[in-house]
Amino acid sequence: MVQLRPRASRVPPSAMVDEGQPASEEEEEAEHGLLLGQPSSGAAAEPLEEDDEEGDDEFDDEAPEELTFASAQAEAREEERRVRESVRRDKTLLKEKRKRREELFIEQKKRKLLPDNILEKLTTAGQTNIKKSSGKLKEANLQKENEDCDKGSDSKKAKVQKVQSVGQNKSYLALRLKDQDLRDSRQQAAKAFIQNSLYGPGTNRTTVNKFLSLENKRLPVKKAAAQFLNNAWGTQKKQNAKRFKRRWMVRKMKTSKK
């Protein structure tokens, strides 16, 4: 049953200059209207009229208060300033919040990365000549690398830079697994291209069985194909038949025993 504040509060302060007094009066009257339990109605004009009437009844014929233009203007300006300041404060608050969040993230990231000295070594280790070591060696080296820098670096195992040698320790080679995936995917794409161009749709290929049986078909006494039987035909059916036979035999044995 709450009646919304009428248009008075929504009207911008600059437009309220002339009607300063009557607006405040109307507000008070509206409050009165509320206390008296006036039903909420759609049109905003009605309660105003009622309030006006009731307001007039209550108060004596009093002249409305004199409000100079200057004071109203000052009040309006105050309001404006207040609003602007609150907006600015909100903005700064948001900025602070964002800054704090960023710092938090940076700190977390730093905690996850390798300690500074190893990173320095990696970046200043010279040309990145990508050398692929043999399979076993790579695994052993990766393991070693992980053991060496285990400061909570479990999640960053996959992202180690590729270098030729790390300082004096020539016992391991760091490799980036992301490059290996890329290489594998390219190799797969190349193999798929060859497969498609040689054996894909549009090529005129036949099975080996048909190829070898071509001679048999042209002999004066025609012979069967090289691989005449298709042993893979109806495997499911054959399996079902076998199972059924076994069960039937068991049943037969039981009944014959009785």
Binding site: I130, K132, S134, G135, K136, R183, R186, Q187, A189, A190, K191, F193, S197, L198, Y199, G202, T203, N204, R205, T206, T207, V208, N209, K210, F211, L212, L214, K217, R218, A226, Q227
Partner: protein, 654 residues
């Protein structure tokens, strides 16, 4: 000679991998062949086409291009994006250099031998400089839109032709820019939907570019103007390879139907000077795609998906017309893939990534000469041993007593101990192999199974004593100073005292195991001197010399030292040193001795070489004991049945 029971074994399911690239080296008359599983084999064409070296394969290495450079250096490029140089002395890979262009599709060496071109997946052509110990990247040429599938240098080294998808570009080497871009017509059997892939290009010194593509055409282009000169439609399927001879008067192309065509430059009329290219001879020796061809001065070499390597000497180029100029078809590897344990009748089969152990079946029936006896107990598949890792197995061996199995890949050596309890087998791995036993080229057990001989690829020979559950390193024979040759073949004498090894430079070293010293040629020579001298005098029977496949295995009969049993892919033979040598007049391949002939004639015609051609094609043959032989055959049809699909051939009436 005696009668034998023969176990005919056909359950070795060996399928060789298809041939992908072939490269011929003129100076040394050697042929490098790379297969789809990454193995690279080197054949010596002057030594009876013997496969003298091989580099084992690797799962990630899919070689697409192979070429020889100056100074007997071999390079290959593959789909893993790396350029690999092979060390032919130490039989390993020297280094692998990433080309940074994605998968490598083609490679070409300039005629001066110092520059290497690589065509990559991203459309770039990269130029490398070949330095004495490595290769160095020089620069990139202009990048093209699609992958570069074939490359060819102009003999002068100023221009290159690069074949791609739907077009061919001609580059100027100095500036690196594309001079011409020739578009190829897509039409294939009346349809223009599929892209036309230029599988091969060749640049001749008069500026003609020859291209072969997937629409079945061979086209001649003029590189100065960038226009098509002549078009030959030769097949209904892809034409996949091209090779030009050194004199540039003939070239050979291979198609996906298995046909190889020979083109020659002939004059238009008999006495005019104008010449034109004419398709002269078709050869149908393959059933599947011919993916690689090479042209030597006297022969055409082709290899493809059907795993045969076919060497066809050209009659007009061969000087001496003898049986040397016949067609050679190399199907089976010249190394041993099977080893046998005589005591327990076990066979160990070596595949690319696993080993299988089988026990031979037995029979109690007896029969006459030539009968097939039924098996009372079938052959048993006892063990299937898989390797870890992507590398192929180089060699494997089982000890004669059957309790040790050893095999080796390029980086590791494995030794296993087998225990037999009442028909069950349990396997135990012997761990902690010593560091020097990293990769072995040949493994052999001694006859009494107490010693293991390992020939490593650094040229040294290790002897290890095998004990109950462990091993003890006995001795290492270091290579002779100055040579780093790798041992290729090993043989041990039955009494366990002598070990013979032959290296890559074809010298034979004999080691005395008891006293751990090295002899050279002494023991076998001492035994052979009288016998071999008579051979030299009389000369071998002419048919014997004409055998075109090399002997793959020799073994000795322990009880009768006069007999030598040897076999190659098509026959096996027992040489009896006590009988006289045959002269040219007698029949070499004598069939089953007729029983009704009189004794005198039989004695006169009997000679030292007893040859039987019943079992072919033979992969392995050995003596199990006094009366039994085992022969492992591999019928060709079984291999063909497991190959990829061939091109459809439409024949009338089918």
């Amino acid at each position: 000679m005696g009668e034998f029971k023969v176990h005919r074994v056909r359950f070795f399911n060996y399928v060789p991998s298809g041939i992908r690239c072939v490269a011929y080296n003129n100076q040394s008359n050697r042929l490098a062949v790379s297969r789809t599983d990454g193995t690279v084999e080197i054949y010596n064409l002057s030594a009876n086409y013997f496969q003298e070296k091989f580099f084992p394969g690797h799962e990630s290495r899919a070689t697409e291009a192979l070429c020889w450079a100056k100074g007997q250096r071999l390079f290959s490029g593959g789909l893993n994006g790396e350029i690999i140089e092979y060390d032919l002395q130490a039989l390993n890979i020297k280094y692998a250099m990433d080309a940074f262009g994605g998968p490598i599709w083609s490679m070409a060496v300039s005629s001066c031998g110092s520059q290497l071109l690589v065509g990559c997946e991203d459309g770039s052509v990269k130029l490398f400089q070949i330095t004495p110990d490595k290769i160095q990247f020089e620069r990139n040429f202009d990048r093209q839109k699609s992958r570069i599938l074939s490359l060819s240098w102009h003999p002068s080294g100023t221009h290159i032709a690069a074949g791609s998808i739907d077009y061919i570009s001609v580059f100027d080497v100095k500036s690196g820019s594309a001079v011409h871009k020739m578009l190829v017509d897509r039409q294939y059997m009346g349809v223009s939907k599929r892209k036309c892939i230029i599988w091969g290009v060749a640049f001749l010194s008069d500026g003609t570019v020859i291209s072969v593509d997937s629409a079945g055409k061979v086209q001649f282009w003029d590189s100065a103007t960038g226009t098509l000169v002549k078009n030959h439609l030769i097949a209904n399927a892809d034409v996949q390879s091209i090779a030009v001879s050194d004199q540039e008067d003939s070239f050979v192309v291979g198609t996906a139907e298995g046909t190889v065509f020979h083109f020659q430059l002939v004059s238009v009329t008999s006495n005019s000077s104008e010449k034109q290219w004419v398709r002269t001879k078709p050869f149908q020796h393959h059933t599947h795609d011919v993916r690689a061809v090479a042209h030597s001065p006297t022969a055409l070499i082709s290899g493809g998906t059907d795993t045969h390597l076919v060497i066809r000497p050209l009659m007009e180029k061969v000087e001496v017309k003898n049986y040397d100029a016949a067609l050679r078809k190399i199907t089976f590897p010249h190394r041993r893939l099977i080893s046998c344990s005589k005591k327990r009748h076990l066979l160990l089969f070596q595949f690319a990534h696993h080993l299988e152990l089988w026990r031979l079946g037995s029979t109690v029936a007896t029969g006459k000469n030539g009968d097939t006896l039924p098996l009372s107990k079938d052959a048993d598949h006892l063990l299937h041993l898989k390797t870890k890792g992507p590398e192929n197995i180089i060699c494997s061996c089982i000890s004669p007593c059957g309790s040790w199995i050893a095999y080796s890949t390029t980086s590791r050596f494995f030794l296993y101990r087998l225990n037999y309890e009442h028909d069950n087998i349990s396997l135990q791995r012997v761990s902690k192999m010593p560091a020097f036993l990293r990769s072995a080229l040949q493994i052999l057990f001694s006859e009494d199974s107490t010693k293991l001989f390992v020939a490593s690829n650094q040229g040294s020979l290790h002897i290890i004593r095998l004990l109950e559950g462990s091993f003890k390193h006995l001795h290492t024979f270091q290579p002779q100073s100055g040579t780093v040759e790798s041992m290729c073949l090993l043989a041990v004498s039955p009494d366990g005292n002598w070990l013979a090894a032959s290296g890559t430079s074809a010298g034979v070293h004999v080691y005395n195991i008891k006293h751990l010293k090295v002899f050279e040629y002494s023991i076998p020579d001492k035994q052979y001197t009288e016998w071999s001298r008579t051979i030299q005098k009389q000369g071998f029977h002419y048919l014997w010399l004409q055998r075109d496949t090399p002997i793959t295995h020799i073994s000795f009969h322990p009880k009768r030292p006069m007999h030598i049993l040897l076999h190659d892919a098509y026959m096996f033979c027992i040489i009896d040193k006590s009988l006289p040598l045959p002269n040219d007049k007698t029949l070499l391949y004598n069939p089953l001795p007729p029983t009704n002939e009189s004794d005198v004639i039989r004695r006169r015609t009997a000679h030292a070489f007893k040859i039987s051609k019943i079992y072919k094609p033979l992969l392995f043959m050995d003596l199990l004991d006094e009366r039994t032989l085992v022969a492992v055959e591999r019928p060709l049809d079984d291999i063909i049945a497991q190959l990829p699909p061939p091109i459809k051939k439409k024949k009338f009436g089918t």
